[in-house]
């Protein structure tokens, strides 16, 4: 008897809880002020993700590496011509080829993940400012290994920038010392071989693995491309190209002593009396960052990119803001003739970091860390 009553009381309890739940459920229907974009929003499908990754690797990354490779090949030819016959005309040809290769490098370095990161492209090719006395020691001792960390401050484009532009008479500089010629040839050969390796690696298994490593979790191609791309952007574009020369490291730091000699392509800018090329290098890296975002290939065909992923998720305003931030950086670059000056260029570069971290990554659910234990 008592048992039956208990059961009834219990059933009653369950039923009233159900009613309570249904009531709170229906009451929440009146609240549509969620701030989330409209109910009809769509989601990117497997095809969209595959298209995105295929486009990134086939149309954005590999052509960028191929361009860098071909510019390095031309540069190598120019250097060979110059070292066979050291004269001012060949020096000029070499300098022009140097600039073209340096510009092409900017785009390749933006993809500083997977094969590019493994090859140590950035560390071996573009750390500046260099240490001229270290460079001169390497040259005169004829002992150099361009793949080592010991060489880092006398390597790559910054070392070439020094050799091709620092001497007042470039022809005399090379004619005076065969070690310099040998160093120049060896360095350019090592850079070209790295460019060849990059094209081979990206066109090998990585080309298919990049697409098959799907999803947005930590370690997926999307997560690697966006997170490592952002790390490169912060360290090597925001800080190295702009922050250090103007005396700023990190958006929230107090200014420290500015050092205009820390700009990229410093010796060239001194020799030619302007920072036009330095600004071009910055612009080239921002343009590739934008191409990565838009999924734009070398022929400037706008394929499926992260902008499209945002659009599919009905985040048109975020997409527009990101595009505006890119445009604002170009405006800043166009309006000045030196990296140095006010902080507006720095701030415009930083604005992109902010919106990537606060909106692009969360809205696409791209993870940058993984719980090592069970999450819930």
């Amino acid at each position: 008897m008592i048992r039956g009553n208990t059961k009834n009381t219990f059933t009653l309890g369950v039923l009233s809880l159900m009613v309570l739940a249904v009531l709170s459920l229906s009451s929440c229907k009146e609240d549509d002020e969620t701030g989330i974009t409209d109910d009809n929003q769509n989601q990117p499908s497997a095809t969209d993700f595959n298209d995105l990754l295929t486009n990134q690797v086939n149309e954005v990354i590999i052509p960028t590496m191929v361009t860098y490779q071909s510019k390095m090949a031309s540069f190598t030819n120019a250097v060979n011509g110059f070292t066979t016959q050291i004269d001012s005309s060949n020096l000029q040809i070499t300098r022009n080829a140097f600039k073209e290769a340096y510009l092409a490098y900017q785009a390749a370095a933006v993809h500083n993940y997977y094969a590019t990161a493994n090859a140590g492209l950035v560390e071996n090719t573009n750390l500046y400012p260099i240490d001229p006395s270290m460079l001169n020691d390497f040259i005169s001792n004829r002992s150099y290994n361009f793949g080592t960390t010991a060489q880092m401050r006398a390597n790559g484009f910054p070392a070439l920038d020094y050799m091709l532009y620092q001497p007042t008479d470039g022809v005399a500089y090379f004619q005076a010392d065969g070690n310099r010629v040998d160093f120049l040839k060896a360095l350019v050969a090592s850079m070209k071989s790295k460019a060849d390796d990059l094209v081979a690696a990206w066109s090998g298994n990585l080309q298919t693995n990049f697409v098959s490593n799907g999803g947005t979790a930590l370690g997926s191609s999307i997560s690697v491309q966006l997170n490592d791309g952002l790390i490169y952007y912060e360290d090597h574009i925001r800080e190295s190209k702009v922050g250090f020369p103007i005396g700023k490291s990190g958006p929230n730091d107090s200014p420290f002593a500015a050092d205009p000699t820390k700009i990229e392509g410093y010796y060239q800018s001194v020799a030619e009396g302007n920072e036009g090329f330095t600004l071009q290098l910055l612009r080239a890296s921002i343009e590739e960052m934008e191409d990565l975002y838009l999924g734009k290939g070398n022929l400037q065909v706008d394929g499926i990119g992260y902008d499209d992923m945002l659009l599919i998720r009905n985040q048109a305003t975020v997409n527009q803001d990101i595009k505006n931030y890119f445009a604002a950086i170009y405006t800043e670059i166009n309006e000045r003739n030196s990296i140095n000056g006010n902080e507006e260029l720095y701030n415009s570069v930083q604005a992109l970091v902010t919106i990537y971290k606060s909106d692009l990554l969360p809205l696409l659910n791209v993870q940058d860390a993984d719980g090592l234990n069970d999450g819930d």
Binding site: K29, D32, D359, P362, G371, G375, D376
Partner: protein, 443 residues
């Protein structure tokens, strides 16, 4: 009123078969053992408790273990769970497991999981119930304790606790983000497209809505169907389907599906459990089956008090203003699972008021990537870390620095919004109770 008390006492102390308890001891003990060994084997003890130089402790000044101590703790956890399976020094083993496990969970908010909290609550009750009086080494060593019956409350307590977990997890899903926007599932599911068979359908908004609504209904009601004999087999079938599916979709939830699959076995009848136990060796049963009633007076009060607390905890957020997901006042310890995708950036700015200089704190120097990820969106952790950095710096400087936080967070598919008031020095004016430094979610 009196008759209700009488009925309650009758319900609690009715003598029933202890078979469900014995099966629970063995299965849950095995799960605890597996989970502990897995944690050690995967190197998580090192990653989570040895590597970090700072921990977001739940209790201020909680003593932190050395490397040797934490490994000893996990060794003892494995040993005590093994003892629980075999019913050897059962109450001591369960007590040791409960205390050490709970201590480990209190070390860092980063690793807080509802199912760890559930393990703590279930093991707490395991200490108090006689799950070791048959099919156990204890009953071999101490034949006097042998019995196959127990008071009804010893089994009810687990069923009620598990029911509350489900119900409150379901109630937590009754919100506009979950039901009207299918968030955060709509954010999470498309990225799981690489899953075989179902992967290609996961991007559909309809699927996100279907999963959201079914998940909500499942949590709200499944427990009720587990109580009744007629609906139980089908309900348990759904338990299996639901938890295995969530385990596949969200591998990061790890042990959670297994904990629920194993612990809900207790809803099955005593006969059913007895049949399972027939496969185990047992020493002949004591003819004088009896149950101790020495704590009979205390039990009803303890049960009532406990469940009042368990009712209060999931509902305590109602006393705080603002959006629960944004402010997270009363978010933990209330069975809120998988409800949020909350991410963005959070920078700490350290200002030296005398030198008038400032510097952004490099979090890599203090926190692991996992800690940084969790810190970003959890207000109490942000305040805790600001105070920690402030104290470290004050020791160096000899005077108080100022700590400001710059943060933008995106919640459940919304555009990001400013999270923390950048003008408030959290070292000086950061008050956990008022949280006036938190910018309310605007929509």
């Amino acid at each position: 009123m009196q008759s209700l008390t009488v009925k309650f006492k009758e319900l609690c102390f009715r003598q029933v078969s202890s078979a469900p308890l014995v099966v629970f001891r063995i299965l849950f003990g095995a799960l605890l053992f597996y989970s502990t060994v897995r944690t050690i084997y995967k190197g998580w003890v090192h990653e989570l408790y040895v590597l970090p130089t700072y921990h977001f402790t739940f209790i201020k000044d909680l003593p932190l273990p050395s490397e040797n101590t934490i490994y000893a703790i996990f060794g003892l956890l494995a040993l005590s769970s093994l003892f629980m399976i075999f019913g050897l020094f059962y109450r001591i083993s369960a007590t040791v497991f409960f205390l050490l496990f709970t201590y480990v969970e209190l070390i860092d908010k980063t690793y807080y999981l509802n199912h760890y909290y559930l393990v703590s609550t279930l093991v707490f009750w395991m200490i108090l119930v006689p799950a070791h009086r048959s099919y156990s080494l204890d009953s071999l060593i101490f034949p006097k304790i042998k019995t196959t019956i127990c008071a009804n409350w010893c089994i009810l307590i687990f069923k009620v606790q598990l029911s509350m977990v489900y119900f409150f997890a379901g109630l937590a899903k009754v919100n506009a983000d979950w039901l009207l926007q299918a968030q955060p599932l709509a954010t999470w599911l498309p990225g799981r497209y690489t899953l075989p068979v179902i992967g290609k359908w996961l991007y559909l908004k309809e699927v996100a809505f279907l999963f959201s609504w079914l998940g909500c209904l499942y949590d709200l009601f499944i427990w009720a169907f587990l109580w009744f004999k007629r609906t139980r087999p089908l309900a348990y079938f759904f338990v299996l389907v639901f938890h295995i599916l969530t385990g596949i979709l969200f591998p990061r939830i790890g042990m959670f599906p297994y904990i629920m699959i194993v612990s809900t076995v207790i809803f099955f009848s005593a006969d059913w459990h007895q049949k399972l136990l027939h496969f185990l060796p047992n020493n002949s049963l004591n003819e004088n089956d009896r149950s101790s009633k020495k704590n009979a007076l205390l039990v009803p009060y303890l049960l009532t008090a406990y469940f009042l607390v368990q009712l209060y905890l999931p509902l305590r957020h109602l006393q705080y203003p603002g959006n629960l997901f944004w402010n997270e006042n009363g978010y933990r310890f209330s069975w809120r699972v998988m409800l949020m995708e909350k991410n963005g950036f959070t920078n700490f700015i350290l200002k030296d008021p005398k030198q008038n200089t400032q510097k952004q704190v490099n979090l890599d120097n203090y926190l692991t990537p996992f800690q940084q990820q969790q810190l970003r969106s959890q207000p109490d952790m942000i305040l805790q870390f600001a105070q920690h950095i402030g104290q470290l710096k004050e020791k160096q400087l000899g005077y108080a620095p100022e700590i400001y936080v710059e943060s933008r967070i995106s919640l459940n598919g919304r555009r990001s919004q400013v999270f923390i008031d950048e003008s408030i020095d959290l070292y000086d004016k950061g008050d956990l109770n008022s949280k006036n430094w938190l910018i309310p979610l605007t929509k």
